[in-house]
Amino acid sequence: MENEEIRNDDYISNLIRQTPLDCPADDFVDRIMAAIQTEPLVVSERKTFLPYIKSTLPYAALVIFCLLIFATSDLPFMNGIHGKGYIMNEIMPYIGTLIASLKAAFASKYVTWGLLVGIAGGLLFLVDRFLSRRTAF
């Protein structure tokens, strides 16, 4: 019985394979090639920026939330791991000195303009590099 079923299946398979496929019009390939010739060969696909922002927003929010808790909390377990006290007493003075020196540098308008142009150019370059990445199929 099982052999008979296999024989029937094979028979039907062979018959189906012998039936011809449907064919499009004779000039089908020519029409496609004509359409291709009139268009540029490669269109670079760009990723939209929005999905990337959406995907990174939760992580950024989580990091900011943790930093806020870390910097403002008076919980005792923070004391033993160089938490708030360490940041306020050891790190912040250095940051303050850095900001003060930056202020002095920015006092000159030529430095300010130069930095402004440099940072803006760098950011534009990075954004362009990021947006130029190809999409995956």
Binding site: I12, L15, P24, V29, L41, F137
Partner: protein
């Protein structure tokens, strides 16, 4: 005509030989058109969808990462495009299992059918295939004529592999029943 492997043409197109794409189109045009036609049931619409898909694939060729077969990727694009067109034009599809079971046994069919002239056999199978639903015709086209694996068909249609297997089994059974009807007519 004997064709090369798809990757051969893809490499040539990507290296600037646009004409090589014509070979790729010629190689796949019949199955692509058949898939669209089985879903849309209209030659003009099927040809338009097939043409659009070949153009779309050409422009996206650079982004094809070759993780799957080119044909699987192409057929999936055509399948999705045709289904989208169908939803816009024809919302009511024929249910998969809506067919009549007649009273002929498989033994009766297998005993008599081999005695019939091969040309009549072909005509009979074509007639039997016309009685299949669009979904069923698409599945057997992909499986038998396109020689796609169950896994490939699963990727193309979005059905699970077990679902594809069950459906193919049902289609074979249904074809056998339809053949028995046609055989009786032929022998009468």
């Amino acid at each position: 005509m004997k064709y090369h492997d798809d990757n051969y043409y893809i490499d040539r197109v990507l290296s600037g030989d646009v004409g090589a794409y014509a070979q790729l189109v010629a190689k796949h045009k019949n199955l692509v058109f058949s898939i669209a036609l089985k879903i849309l049931n209209n030659r003009e619409d099927a040809e338009e969808i097939a043409q659009d898909c070949f153009l779309k694939v050409f422009h996206a060729l650079k982004t094809f990462e070759r993780k799957s077969k080119f044909s699987t990727w192409l057929y999936r694009i055509v399948y999705n495009a045709a289904i989208s067109r169908t939803r816009k034009k024809k919302p009511d599809l024929v249910p998969m299992d809506n067919y009549v079971i007649n009273n002929h046994t498989e033994e009766e069919v297998s005993e008599g059918i081999y005695d019939i002239d091969p040309d009549i056999q072909k005509a009979m199978i074509e007639k039997a295939m016309q009685k299949l639903t669009d979904d069923e015709n698409l599945l057997i086209t992909l499986f038998y004529k396109g020689e796609n694996s169950i896994e490939d068909i699963s990727v193309i249609t979005g059905l699970t592999m077990s679902n594809v297997k069950v459906r193919l089994h049902r289609i074979r059974k249904k074809l056998h029943e339809e053949l028995s009807v046609e055989m009786n007519r032929a022998l009468a």
